[in-house]
Amino acid sequence: MSAWHVSGPMAERYASGSAAEPEAWSLEKHIESCGPCAVRVSTAVQRSPAGLVIAEIRATVLAGRTPAAAPVRWTARMMWAAGPAVRGAWLLSLAAVIGGALFLAYGVGFEGARPLLLALSPAVPLAGVALSYGRYSDPMHEITAATPYGGLRLLLIRTAAVLAVSVPLLAVASALLPDPAGPPGAAAWLLPGLALTLAALALGSYTGCRIAATVLACAWVMAVLAPLAGPPALAAEAARLVSGPDAQAGWAAAAVVCAGLLAVRRSSFDHLESV
């Protein structure tokens, strides 16, 4: 008993199933009492094709479903919540507006770059709102509309995302631009921007956000560009619309009124067939 041991080739033959029957029997009998040989045979079997398959199955069974079902990362949730505007073309157009203003100021030396950017800034979140919610802007609108988040709640989340992206970028950009001295200040557009965004949501409860935002953006741009007489006039025009405590108070009041109207109209977003 002690003289006979399982050789390496014999273990291989046994593992691959090619060992003759008497040999296999002696081996099985022997490894019941001989530890080193049992280990040798076990190693050979584990290395065989069948052993590999069994190891794989064992790993799968032991792992269960847990490793694959990784919890959703919060960054992914942020991206989802941002909605279609921040994921898509709107972000590019925001970059284009800022890049264009910086280029005009430093590349070409155009003095009116900052008033121009200030004049355009309130329209940027409006475009984001237009592209955030509704049948024409959101490819997933039909299925998201049937969820508890559907309606005003989702629209507000996405509007917040649009503002969270555009406000800091535009603020930094206008601070970077050379100051042509005098009003308006770099932050003067913030209240008008907020008021126009809320107005787009409030008007959007009747017409859908796309139409509302387009109408308001056009109205804003026309109001600013109406004189169409070059940079100094543009600066003056922008100043007239946004500068000074009176103008700012007016915009703040408008924002409050629109927010109130939106609250009253909240249920109308639950099914907007026109959006």
Binding site: A69, V72, P139, E142, I143, A146, P148, Y149, H271
Partner: protein, 275 residues
């Protein structure tokens, strides 16, 4: 589960009217649906999609009362309560280009306000049920039309809805997938109310216990699948299978009772529409 105690019927519709501008899509329809799989049959343009969209709380009713899962669907406050327990697959739906199957279904689970810890497992189980486990991390845009439809089914069932609404769910599925899908429907229908709109009579024969036939915005026939089949056996018609003949017979008898004038032209369309 709670609805089973309070109100046995998940859907109660009385006098439901839906108008799209001047056309009447649904004309004072009274319907109720309880636990089980219900087939919604009818020619194209009969009002099936209009009914499904109202039941999905996506479209408003022009008139009448809609009670879903024990709540009034027109009440703004109750709508999230309904929508949390709802699954909806529209005829067509979009997705964001970057989404993988897992992200798409997780996003929908998030919008349905599922508790965060259960989302990962629920997503995997839903994707597994539609047989897409091997493609769970593939981009949705790389999938075939039939697979995208199955992703749509997965998002509809991810929250284990008590009311599942499917609009033409078998469009784009090959015969084998259809067979599997019907088995899934029967499975879900054991505990939930499932309403399947289709113009394929064979879908109804294979998966549904109850049939509702809609024609020109009115309920033309209601009964069990077996009853509709018997109706077909009694009718000496040219339809391929008894249930198809039953469909045609029920449709014709409805048309005979409502309008006699344009019966001939419409029934020639009617027999074609079921194919």
């Amino acid at each position: 589960m709670t609805t089973a105690e309070n109100a046995p019927e998940a859907v109660r519709v009385t006098g439901l009217t839906v108008r799209h501008r001047r056309t009447v899509a649904l004309d004072a329809v009274d319907l109720d649906f309880g636990t089980g799989v219900h087939g919604l049959l009818g020619p194209n343009g009969a009002g099936k999609t209009s009914l499904i969209r109202v039941l999905a709380t996506v479209a408003p009713a022009s008139g009448g009362r809609v009670e879903l899962l024990g709540h009034d669907a027109s009440a703004h406050r109750d709508r999230p309560l309904i929508r949390r327990r709802l699954g909806y697959l529209p005829q067509e739906f979009g997705y964001y280009p970057g989404f993988t199957v897992r992200e798409f279904v997780s996003y929908m689970a998030w919008l349905k306000e599922m508790p965060a810890p259960s989302v990962a497992d629920a997503v995997e189980s839903a994707v597994d049920r539609v047989g897409l486990m091997d493609r769970i991390d593939a981009k949705v845009k790389t999938l075939s039309g039939g697979m995208v439809r199955r992703v749509g089914i997965a998002q509809a069932i991810v929250n284990e809805p008590e009311l599942l609404l499917l609009d033409e769910p078998t469009a784009g599925l090959d015969p084998e997938q259809r067979v599997e899908f019907r088995a899934l429907l029967r499975d879900v229908g054991r505990t939930s109310t499932v309403i399947v709109s289709t113009h394929l009579v064979e879908d109804v024969a294979a998966a549904c216990e109850q049939v509702t036939l809609i024609e020109s915005g009115r309920v033309a026939y209601r009964g069990t699948t077996a009853e509709l089949t018997r109706l077909g056996e009694a009718s000496p018609d040219e339809g391929a299978s008894p249930i198809e003949r039953g469909y045609t017979a029920a449709l014709r008898s409805h048309r005979g009772t409502t309008t006699g004038r344009d019966q001939r032209t419409r029934s020639s369309w009617g027999t074609g529409a079921q194919r």
